[in-house]
Every structure is written in C-alpha cells, then in structure tokens.
C-alpha cells in the first residue's frame, strides 16, 4: 500500500490529542504546513518536542494546542523572543505551558539514544550549569571504566515525528539534503512518522551516502510544495527572513495573533491557499 496521502488525512489519522509530537528541523526544512494542519484540526494537549522551537511552535502554543514543550532553544532566530511561548510561560495564556528544558548537545543525544533503542543517552556536559537543578530528568553516572562523572538523560521516543524533505518517490521513500539537523534520529526514534515533501519524483537519485528514509519506517508521505515556508528548502526556495521579522509584532499582541491565526490558518483550506494569501499581503517594503 502506498504511503502517499493528503496532509489533512495524515494528521487526522496519525496525530491524537495528548500525543508527544516532534516537528523537527534545524532552521532548514521546518514542517510549517503540517503545523498549520495540526492547528486547523484543533489537536489538543500535545507535548511538543523540538530542539529549536520557532514560529510554528509559537503558533501552536498560542492557538491552544500545547500542554508541554520539550526543547533546548526557543526563539525567533536572529530576531528575538517567541512572544506566544513567553506569554504562556510568564502569564499562562492561553493556558499554562509545562516546560522540560535541555541543551542542544543533550537533546541531540537523547534523540540519538531513542533511534538506537537505548534507555538513556550519555554526555560530557551540564557540568557547572543550573539546568540539571530544574530538569530532574538529567542525572549523573560514574563511568565504570574511568570513574569520570557524566550526565545521562532518558532517550527521546516521540509518539509522532513530522518532518519536511525535498523529495519522495511513488513508493514513499524520502530523500533530504542540506542542513539535516536531527531529523533522521527523530524519525527513527518515533512510533509514527509523517513526512511532507516538495515533490514526488519518478526516481530518487541520492549519492551513496545521501540521507534516505525508506518507506518502511514512514507512515504517511504528503506532497506539499513550499511546505517549509517561511523557512527554506535547499534547492527549492530560500528562507523568507522578512516573514520572521514581521512575525515579531504580530506575536507580541494577543488580539493580533488571534486574528492572524483565524485569517491565515483557520479560514483557509490548506497550506497552498495560506501561501497564496500571504504572498499577496507580504508587499516588499511593508514592515508593519
């Protein structure tokens, strides 16, 4: 059976209320389209996992989908704060947000351990930092061979991992390249996997060491051209830095944010309609 289906169907079938969901991407290939579909279907009480939660997690938090966030750096890269994230942590709006905080080295290792089916990750890290005082999941062991003190954290195994990639073939095998972050680990660590792609091609043509995720580790492959916008897809389109800058004033204001979610997510049918609407509104030189 082909794994290819619509994004609407994939999110409806695979993402359940209360799931832990990792929508990974390290600045590149961020699965915005899938995030919007989760908001549109009003999934609730999610535990969101991501090393670098950015605008799409800000939107999911502000839209009331999220109970808890596991992360290692939450900001608008190069711009500043995530205001919906801050409002949730500082003021409990629209609902309190539980946080579980890591460092990048730590979190990358916990995905890696999850993919390797190990119970925990080990790290030469966290020494001297206050983070272990506030994240009880970080514990210490003594190396049985050298007596060195090392940090350990439980493996990360999301219920669902969602990523965006460049290409899939008809069978649902996926090929991605460029900055690939922690996506391969997040996919192999997860119970269920949804991947959106720029295009479906007749034949993938990866180099021998290219990153290919075979169809048999994936549950759904959805064609969503531009699905990483306003982040970027190497070889297809560049990062829309203006959008990241323009998001700041929108996210600062609860009413303006609600209106934005209504206009650009809830009131549109799909990501293509959203992009068409947004491109019409994003007039060069308009920075309001």
């Amino acid at each position: 059976m082909s794994k290819i289906c619509s994004l609407k169907e994939a999110i409806a079938r695979i993402v359940k209320n209360g799931d832990s969901v990792a929508m990974e991407g390290f600045t590149h290939l961020i699965p915005y389209a899938a995030g919007h579909e989760v908001i549109r279907q009003q999934k609730r009480n999610l535990t969101l996992i991501r090393m670098t939660p950015d605008l799409i997690y800000d939107q999911l938090i502000g839209a009331g989908c999220v109970k808890k966030m596991i992360f290692s750096w939450g900001g608008n890269p190069g711009v500043g704060s995530l205001h919906r994230f801050r409002d949730a942590v500082e003021n409990g709006w629209p609902q309190p947000l539980e946080i579980q905080e890591h460092s990048h080295a730590d979190m990358a290792s916990t995905y890696d351990a999850g993919a390797a089916n190990l119970p925990f990750a080990v790290l030469r890290g966290h020494i001297g930092s206050d983070l272990p005082l506030y994240n009880p999941q970080i514990k210490w062991i003594t190396c049985p061979f050298t007596d060195e003190k090392l940090a350990v954290m439980p493996a990360l195994n999301p219920d669902v991992t969602i990523i965006h990639a460049q290409q899939a073939d008809q069978q649902g095998n996926v090929f991605l390249w460029g900055i690939v972050g922690v996506q391969k680990q997040a996919v192999l660590a997860a119970e269920k996997v949804i991947i959106t792609v720029e295009e479906i091609v007749v034949k993938l043509n990866p180099p021998p060491n290219g990153i290919v995720l075979p169809h048999w580790v994936i549950d759904a492959v959805c064609k969503v051209p531009g699905g990483a916008f306003p982040s970027y897809t190497q070889g297809y389109y560049e990062r829309n830095n203006r959008f990241y800058q323009q998001w700041d004033p929108i996210a600062r204001d609860r009413e303006r944010f609600n209106q934005w979610i209504h206009d650009y997510v809830m009131a549109v049918e799909n990501f293509a309609d959203y992009k068409a609407q947004l491109e019409k509104d994003l007039i060069p030189g308009d920075t309001k």
Binding site: F26, T27, H28, M51, T52, F71, S72, W73, G74, G75, P77, G78, V79, S81, L82, F85, R86, V89, E90, E101, H102, S103, H104, A105, D106, A108, S109, Y111, D112, L123, R124, G125, H126, I127, G128, S129, D130, L131, Y134, K149, G178, I179, V180, G181, V182, K184, Q185, Y232, Q234, Y237, E238, R239, N240, N241, R242, Y244, Q245, L282, P284
Partner: protein
C-alpha cells in the same frame, strides 16, 4: 569625533582575538559578525563551525539564523546536529567557542535562560542552545555583548553556561579541564579574568570611553588594570571590510527572501 561607532569597535576588537588557523564554534549575532570579520581580514584560515552542522563555512553575508542556506552552501561540509555536538565539539576538535549572552556575571558565567524565578519568570529567555557544552568542551571561549547594568550583574540568577563559576579554581574543582572564558569584549572595552581570582577585570578601554562609564555600566565594583590602555582603534581595512559585510547583509535580508 570618532569616525566609527562603538558597535563597530566592539566587533573589530572581538575579531582580533581570533587567531588565524584556529577552529572556532560560532554563535549567531555579534559572535558571527566578529568571527567572519576575522576570516575576511587577518585570519583567512580560521575554520568557522555553526551548530546547525556547517563546518568550514565562509558566508558572503552574515546569516540571520544559525542555519541559513548561505551557511550550508558555503561550507566545506555539513553534518547532522548529533554528529556536530558529539564528534566535533565533545570530541575535542574546537579551539575557541565564540558566544553571545543576555546576562553575564563577574566570573563570566552566562545566563540565557531566565530572569527572576525559574518557575515564575520575570523574563523568559530562549534557553541554553549549544552554549553550555560549547563553554565546557571548547578549549577556551570568548564572549561578546554590550555592556550595561542590566547585562553585567554581580551574580546571574541562572547559570546557563558556566564561566569561572564562583571564581578561583572552582571551574577545575567542578571537573572542567578547559580554560573557559578568556576575554569578554564589549562596546566600551575588553575584560579578562584575573589569573588567580578569575574575576573579570577591565584590561583595555575603547577610545572615547572612560573607566567611569565602564563602571557605570557594570553591576559590581569593576577592577581595572592601572593604567588601563586604550584598544588600538580600527584600521581603515578593518572598518571597510566590516562595513561592506554589514551592507551586503542588510541588502540580503531586506529583500523578500
């Protein structure tokens, strides 16, 4: 009177700290500007690494984010994030970590997590990112940030990335064998840890700034070298390369992409 701004002087002073040929793990923002200026002036063989996985990257414009396409397209190679932190950083290949900070204290500990109580924060900051392990696994680290009473506090409310902890040999006693912060470069001058106490001392002042100004922008009694020398002003080359870089960057980021 000055023909350059305090921010330009800060970036140039920071760039000079990076020796040619070193392997440098670069934070986004001010560190990235300084590191690329070094690469484009006196340190053409510096190897710049960004945590998104790009190694030996030579961006033509400064990236807005840590994973801009410009970084991967101009990189010698791109590796996964787990590989970056586990093999290259923890593996011991990084000479210098170049970090920014929201808040720093007198022993160069960095806070990028939270102002106020962790559970009921006054200001929630982005969090740790790569900095804690950069500051402990790189052989030494440089820190660049603007000096103000809000940013330079006697004791940070949260140590995200350890500097010299409580000073003296505290870092070594905690089990850290790397040097930690060796300089803090600001818009007013350069601070460095005292060799014994590890307390930050003002070791040079940018022209146009005074010791009083530096003290006024510091939340503890700031010790200074006596007399404190002036930082050599920017050379015409440094200034023109930096301005060209900033101009290219502004142009690239103002477009629709």
């Amino acid at each position: 009177m000055n023909q350059y701004t305090a921010e330009e002087m800060m970036t140039i002073a920071a760039s000079r700290k990076l020796k040619n040929g070193v392997v440098c793990f670069v934070g986004i923002g001010l560190p990235s500007a300084a590191a690329n200026l070094a690469r484009l002036t006196h340190a053409p063989d510096v190897v710049l690494i960004y945590e998104s996985g790009t190694i030996g990257t030579k961006p033509n414009v400064l990236p807005l984010s840590i994973g801009d396409g410009e970084l991967s397209e101009s990189a010698q190679m791109v590796v996964s994030v787990p590989e970056m932190f586990r093999y290259w950083l923890q593996g011991g290949w990084v000479d210098v970590g170049f970090l920014g900070a929201a808040q720093i204290d007198k022993f160069a500990n960095i806070n990028t997590t939270v102002i106020g109580d962790y559970h009921q924060p006054k200001t929630r900051l982005p969090g740790a990112g790569g900095a804690p392990e950069i500051s402990t696994n790189a052989k030494e680290s440089l820190i660049i940030l603007k000096q103000s009473k809000r940013a330079f506090v006697e004791k940070v409310s949260f140590i995200t990335s350890p500097g010299h902890l409580s000073g003296g040999d505290a870092r070594e006693k905690a089990g850290l064998s790397t040097k930690g912060p060796t300089a803090v470069i600001t818009d007013l001058g350069v601070l460095a840890p005292d060799p014994v106490s590890k307390e930050l001392v003002l070791v040079s002042l940018h022209e146009g700034s005074t010791v009083e100004q530096a003290q006024e922008a510091t939340g503890w009694h700031l010790k200074t070298n006596d007399p404190v020398p002036f930082t050599p002003p920017p050379t015409p080359l440094e200034l023109s390369v930096l301005r060209d870089l900033n101009e290219r960057t502004a142009l690239a980021h103002s477009g629709t992409h």
